[in-house]
């Protein structure tokens, strides 16, 4: 019996060794006609593989698309590969702009400015400028990177409000509200028929921050917001109190769905998709999500209702997913040519249709679903922290966002929150000065 078990173990080992040796140890040789692209988008893998095949048929250049999801482990792989010098020809950098800048600084990312400028800037002109901005380093940027465009966006995204057409009709509301008083009137009408107002995943605090930022830009304008981040304007300024008052007013009007401050966005998406709330604040990715949860949902996108009619409502948006080309790749030209082809109108329209994401190519808008077109139509109104001249200190943002939650649950007043945020700002600025 003992002999038998010993033999069994040895056999298992030998079999494992043989299988391992036979099936997995082949080293990969570099093919000069094969471009490798690493991506992280599970839901776009099938259509990217399809496009890669089409590209090979058209040009003879083989594109090897490899998926590494989820995005966290994709980023780890990119970091590890950069250190082992095994980055593919095309990859994405999902981290903050300063990490993007590091990749450029250490020679991993090609400057694509010349390519974008060719043929009178045809490639650049075909894209949404806001999508390119995320991949652009302006002259005198704080990272010390040579000015230029370093990445190619394949889709764009923005965060807006959505309304359920059926629920609004049920409350007798004929058109979506465009200003704040109309919005408050809609909430009243919805309450009368027992429908919840606004739902959003503000348990994920950055979404509440984005909403507040929309109103900060609308109430006081970009210049004053940037001046606040720089430290020249205080959070106790009446305009900032007005921004915080938006949450107080909405909370007192019963506009928020119950539990909004702790709700994860996935749950908020379910609430809107299942018609439990009439309005939602969500990103353009929701089109895909709502389609999966409730294909018959009738809804449309709208800008958050304005308070100050003299200033436009600015929403967060920009490049959704972007790719860069490895600077030292021997197939750099082929990699750039593929990205150029991938971001062209026809391919972008296919990507948008199949994945329900907004195309980065503005010419592709004509052939996309109506609700996506609604989202895309306001791309010129978008802004994003990654392209701002100044960004707020993380501790201040955290205090501000927590303050919003306190206002919504009636724990603090806008004035109290503003004073507390200003105190944090002064403390953090002092700390930053000492560190310098």
């Amino acid at each position: 019996m003992k002999k038998f078990s010993f033999v069994a173990v040895v056999l298992v080992l030998i079999c494992s060794g043989v299988i391992v040796a036979c099936t997995g140890c082949g080293g990969s040789k570099e093919d000069p006609n094969q471009v490798t692209m690493w991506h992280w988008m599970t839901d776009r893998d099938a259509v990217l593989q399809q496009l890669a095949q089409q590209y090979e048929q058209e040009t003879g250049v083989k594109i090897k698309i490899e998926l590494f999801a989820p995005s966290d482990s994709y980023s780890q792989r990119i970091t590890a590969s950069s250190q082992a010098n095994t980055l593919p020809d095309i990859f994405g950098i999902l981290d903050k702009k300063e990490i993007f800048a590091d990749f450029i600084r250490y020679g991993f990312v090609a400057n694509l400015t010349e390519e974008f400028a060719k043929d009178g800037g045809a490639w650049e002109k075909s894209m949404f400028p806001k999508a390119l901005d995320v991949n652009r380093f302006k002259p005198d940027n704080i990272y010390g990177i040579e000015p230029g465009i370093y990445g190619v966006p394949i889709d764009v995204t923005n965060i807006q409000m959505l309304y359920n057409k059926k629920l609004l009709a049920k409350a007798g509301i004929k058109k979506a509200p465009t200003n704040f008083s109309e919005f408050l009137a809609s909430i009243k009408a919805l309450k009368r028929v027992g429908v919840s107002g606004l739902v959003s995943g503000w348990g994920e605090i950055w979404m509440a921050d984005a909403f507040a930022s929309n109103y900060a830009f609308n109430i006081m304008g970009e210049e004053k917001v940037m001046a606040t981040y720089k430290g020249d304007v205080k959070y106790t300024d009446p305009d900032w109190i007005k921004v915080l008052n938006v949450f107080k007013t909405l909370s007192e009007a019963g506009a928020f769905m119950e539990g909004i401050v702790t709700k994860p966005n996935k749950e908020a998406e379910q609430d809107f998709a299942l018609e439990r709330a009439a309005f939602a604040y969500n990103g353009s990715w929701c089109v895909n999500v709502y389609h999966d949860m409730n294909p018959s949902l009738e809804y449309s996108a709208m800008l958050p209702p304005t308070i100050n009619p003299k200033r436009p409502m600015k929403i967060w948006g920009g490049a959704g997913s972007s790719f860069v080309v490895k600077e030292t790749s021997t197939r750099k030209d082929k990699a750039i040519a593929f990205l150029k082809w991938l971001s062209a109108e026809k391919q972008q329209a296919l990507l948008a249709k199949e994945t329900r994401n907004l195309p980065a190519n503005r010419k592709a808008l004509e052939s996309i679903p109506e609700v996506l077109a609604d989202f895309a139509s306001v791309m010129d109104n978008t802004t994003h922290p990654t392209i701002w001249k100044y960004n707020e200190l993380p501790a201040v943002t955290e205090a501000f966002d927590k303050g919003i939650q306190s206002i919504i649950i009636g724990e603090k007043t806008p004035k109290q929150v503003a004073s507390e945020v200003q105190a944090v700002k002064e403390r953090e600025t002092e700390k930053a000065k000492r560190r310098q």
Partner: protein
């Protein structure tokens, strides 16, 4: 209150508590199975414990869409190879640390203990660079060796604790019977440590079966990926196909549940006889 009533009440309380613990553990599995039989819309709307419409087709869809055939084979291969490797290497090492005297024994042992403190993500970059330098990145053997390394520390500690308790008379008797050190390890120490080995097998099987992050880092070729990769097919960045994901999760959970049931007797014995002490 008389004695039998007191005893019955005590048992009733104890059983109620154990039942609630069992329910807490089993309910997520039941919910996973329940959702695997629904479609993506009814997952959110059907509130009943038993779905109003049952759809077993999700399993076939999950298997084909997730490409489970090759991933399943890979996961079985990785699990068997890694667990066999860990049991062999850790039992030899633990035996040496426990029963043999050699220079630097304690220092080497503490090195393994310290290695346990390093979280896996902390070693990602060095591991990836090392595997690339050795030409073992994107190979099955590279991944298997890394996973054996990951499981060694805990297994050595568990087995050493067990071997430490082995009476030295047994070893002496085997030596008088003419056994070499190898034979004592194989014929005496290892059979006695069967409960501890069972614990190591189940712990490491679970670990390898559910591992994905290291596989994702070291392997590029889709054909080499483990089962967890198949699950990713149903979870996009923003949208999730819940019904297929739950069917896929059920498929991936079945082998490990069967393994646990098969080894349950040994695991309980191993745990209760102090296999996890220290």
């Amino acid at each position: 209150m008389n004695e039998p009533t007191k005893r019955n009440l005590k048992y009733l309380g104890l059983h109620a508590f154990l039942l609630s613990v069992a329910l807490t553990c089993l309910f997520p599995l039941f919910w996973m199975f329940r959702c695997s039989l629904m479609d993506n819309q009814t997952v959110f709307t059907d509130k009943g414990l038993i779905p109003s419409v049952i759809n077993f087709g999700n399993y076939a869809d999950a298997w084909t869409k997730g490409g489970f055939g090759v991933y399943f084979f890979n996961s079985i291969l990785y699990t068997v190879s890694v667990v066999v490797g860990i049991v062999l290497v850790s039992s030899l090492a633990a035996f040496a640390f426990s029963r043999l005297k050699f220079w630097g024994r304690d220092a080497f042992y503490y090195m393994f203990v310290i290695a346990m403190m390093i979280p896996l993500p902390g070693s990602f970059v060095p591991l990836f660079v090392l595997m690339n330098k050795l030409g073992m990145a994107n190979t099955r053997i590279g991944y298997i060796l890394c996973m054996i390394n990951v499981g060694l520390s805990l297994s050595i500690i568990l087995l050493k604790t067990f071997f430490d308790k082995m009476p030295s008379d047994l070893e002496d008797a085997a030596r008088i019977d003419g056994c070499s050190k190898w034979q004592i390890w194989w014929n005496v120490a290892l059979p006695l440590a069967r409960p501890a080995v069972a614990v190591i097998v189940i712990f490491n099987s679970l670990n390898v079966w559910n591992e994905y992050i290291l596989a994702q880092l070291l392997l590029s070729d889709d054909k080499l990926m483990p089962l967890q990769r198949g699950l990713m097919a149903f979870a996009g960045k923003h949208s999730v196909d819940y019904s297929l994901l739950m069917a896929a999760l059920t498929i991936s959970a079945v082998p490990i549940i069967l393994l646990y049931l098969a080894m349950q007797k040994h695991i309980i014995k191993g745990l209760s006889s102090g296999a996890v002490v220290g």
